[in-house]
Structures are given as structure tokens and as C-alpha cells.
Amino acid sequence: MTTSTGLRRWWIGAAALAALLALPAFASQYIVHIANFILIYTLPVIGLGFLTGFAGRVSLAQGALFGVGAYTTALLTTKFGWTPIATFVPSVMMTVVLAVALGGAAVRLAGLYFVMATIGIQQIVWIVLMNWIDLTNGPQGVRSIPAIGFGNYRLETPQQFYFLALVAAGISYILAKRVIGSRLGLYLRALSDDQLAASSVAVEVGRAKVIALALSAAWAGAGGFLYAHYVRFVHPDMFGLDASVLYLVMSIFGGYRSIVGMIVATGLLESATEYLRPFGEFRMIAYGMILLLGMMFFPKGILTLVRRRASVPAAGKG
């Protein structure tokens, strides 16, 4: 890896960061609104990346877990009057606990069976959210969720929320990179390449998988927390199987192990679905075609095309 490539990357990164910071100044409210969603969604998508890219496991429950985070904060703030910031930790914890309770025993299953189990988890959570009316208001959803505030300053408009979303996405990215670069990242990659060999070099495979699950849930819960305080209304249909599929696609489209790829894919897909919104059914047909054609022709992710041209040998991070 030559210094000129490294330097070029630095410049691209800095330029991107500058553009992001300046966005609300020159873009319309609508664009900022979409940008907020993109930033929020990077959390469950990156969380899913721990499982798919690094542990080699596909999960279709991320939508439900995102919802658990959202509902936890929604209920704590509307029913019990907590301030939003105080609910962050409980929301994340609740999501992690639920994920490990329901899915902990399932992570040891072979790949396809694990997917099946996550479908079960997804549906169970959705059905409970929809039908436990005393707790969640069921199909009416939870309204009037308060905005996040610091002192007297509340983050209510898209522009105001934007900086929180940017900071959150940034922290999520940095934290994820650190986790991937830690020994856990090595263990997960090893066990996803060859589980038996990983055990044979003293990797505690079962424990590593559960930690990956817990991390993916933590990221999902954090994302859900942000989401609830941005749209300020939650309903079970926001956290159904479609949402899980969307996050999975975003996670895969960016290329399995590239966090930057996932972020870019999230941006592209969310923008695409927004752009197509006025087209009704055709929007969904286009979305379906994107999924289908994407998997048919770019099974390793779209960004690997770009990667291959840049052709920097993957330096082993110790």
C-alpha cells in the first residue's frame, strides 16, 4: 500500500466529511430528511455486518430488533415520562437481552437453519408488538414520542436532528471498525472461513458467535432509539420482515466485509427507494428487480467491482 493511495483516500474522506457537515446549508429540507434516514439505517446495517460479513451468518431479524430498540424508548418516554437520553442504555440493553435470549441458542446452528430461526424471531416479535395491545397499543402504534433534547434545546427539525445523526453514525462507524480490528474480528473471520479450524486454534467459537449476535443487536437497538426520536411515532409494520430484508440487502450489497461499502450501499438503496416513491407498485417492482438482478449479477456486492479496479492488496491488520 503506497503512501499516495493512502493520501488520496485521506483526501476523499476529508472531502466527504466536509460535504456531509455542510449539507444542511445548501440542501433542501427533504434531502436532509432522507440523509437522516440513511444515517440512522447505517446502524442496523453495520450491526448486521458483524453477523453476515464477519461471522458468516445471515439474519432476517434485524428489523424486529431495530423495532425493540425503538419501542423500548418509545414506551419509556411516553408511558413513564423518562427523558429520551436516559432511555438510550435501556433500549440497547433490552434489544441485546432479547436477541441473546431468543437467538443465543440458535447461533450454533448451521447457516441456513440459523436464517430460519431468525425468521421465527422476526415474526414472533412483530406479532407480539402488533397484539400485546396493553403494552404497545398494537396497530395504533405509539405516538407523540418526545424529541431528544439537551437542556432546553430540542432536536425537532430535520436540520437539527441531522448533526446528532451524523455524530451517531460516525461513532457507530469508528466503534465498528475498532471491533472488527480487535481480536474478535479475527476470531469471527476465522470461524466464518472454517469453523473446525478455528476451534483447533483455540477460538471459542460458540462464545464468539453469541458476542457477534449481541453486537448486532446493540447496533440495531441504538438505531431504533434514534429512529423513534426522529419520526416520533412507531408502528409494528415499520419493523417487519420487509425491514429485515432491506437491512440485509444493504449489508450484502456493499460487499461482505466492507463497512464503508455498507454505508454507501445504504445511501444508494435508500435514495433509490425514495426516488421511486411516487411510482407506487412500480416502485416495489423496481425494488424487487434491484434485489433479484443484484443477486444474480453481483453476488459479491456491487462495491467489489470498484474495489477490484483500485486493486490494493488487503494488508493484514494485526
Binding site: R178, G181, L184, R189, L196, S200, A202, V203
Partner: protein
Amino acid sequence: MALLSASKVSLAFAGVRALVDIDLQIEKGELLGIIGPNGSGKSTLFNVLSGIYRVDQGTIEFRGRRTERLGIAQIVRSGIARTFQNKRLFGTMSVLDNVVVAALKGAQGSVLGDVLGLRSSAKARMKAKDTANRCLALTGLAESTYLLARDLPYGAQNRLELARALALEPTLLLLDEPAAGLNPSERTALQELIRRIHGEGVTIALVEHDVRMVTGLCARAIVLDHGEKIADGASAMVVRDPRVQAAYFGEVESGEEAHAT
């Protein structure tokens, strides 16, 4: 007391008896050969010793501790490392990372420590990296550390398996047909390498088809046939044993010499 002692170990799969009443001692510091025709149970024996298979009957003791019920990772941590006959490398990881994963065994620090950038964790990572580099240098892979494991040529993959096992700093090293697929000059180099590792005090058990390599390296050898141990003694004697020759009779194996020269 023997370093490893297996007693009356038996294992059957779907009616096929893979191991029958195996008694085996491995003494500390020795280089033991394990030979036998195809399907005689050599790899199965290793799988049992390394915890991949559970025995139906019998006991295994390593350094005084019973291991037949332990999990794979636990057994590795207690000091046994192995290589695989069909190379099981971490294909998408670099050569260096393949070995670092192993070198991290028992390292100080934790995931949280890594994430937070704690000094103790970072030092442990550096130490693991050093160990890894040392093992790679020993096996002649120092030039290839940043290549992806799956891009290595066959002979190099063999050596990577070995480097990875060495990084676990084992007391007992189980080598499962490390010479398979190697050309003669590679075989000689491998023999040298095994001698060096042995010289550093590692106890080694070597499963090999190349009987000459076994007689060249190993003072003692045992012979398996259809899951049973049919000979156990000085390797030069064992290969002359008529029962052993009968077991190998009719084996069509290129490069193999069933009768000792």
C-alpha cells in the same frame, strides 16, 4: 508418566469400527511415527486426541488430566496442536492473520481492551504478532505474510498449516500427513523442519504414508490397521514386522515403499 496416554479407546461410526481398543503412550520429548494403510484409523485417532470426535469407550490422559470429554478449544489450550490432512486454512485472511489467530491463544487482554485501545491489550497483540512472524520465518513464509491464504501455492499452504500449529506453542504437536503432495525436495525440507521443531523440545506424533520419512525421523512407531494397533516399537523393526507388511500388501500408493529397504 507418559505425556499422553490413551487407554482402550474405541470409536464406531454407523456400524464401522474406526478405532478398536487402542492403547497408546506418547513419552515427553519423543518423535512418534504412526503408519498404516488407508482407512486404518490414523486420522480418526488424531481427531479423537484433538477433541473433534468423542470416543465411545476408553480414556485419554494428557499431562495427568483426562481429556476425552473436553471440547476442542479446551484441548488446544491444554497444549495439544494439530495440522490437518486436507489443509484447513482461513482462506480469506492473510497468511499473517492466519497465524496471529493461533498466537493469540492465551494472550492477555480482551476484546474490550482491544476496542478501547488499552495498553495491555495492545502489548499482547504485538507479542502475538511477533510469535506469528517467528513461526512464519521458521517455516519459510516470511516473504508471504500479506498474501491471502487461499492464494498460496500448495506447498506453501502446507507450511502455513504448520506455522499456525506452532504458533499455539504446543507441548504435543500432531502432524497429519504433512508431506502429502510434496515433491522430494520439499519433503527433505519438511523433514529438516520437523527435526528442528523436535529439537526445540516439542513432542511430536507424525502420521505419514511415506514410510521412509517415518523411519528417518522417528525412533519409535506404531502401526494401525482396520482400527487396531498391530505393532508398536522401534520404527526400523516395526516396518520389517511381517504383520505390518501384510497389512500394506497390495497397497498401490505412488512414492510409497511398503517394504523397508
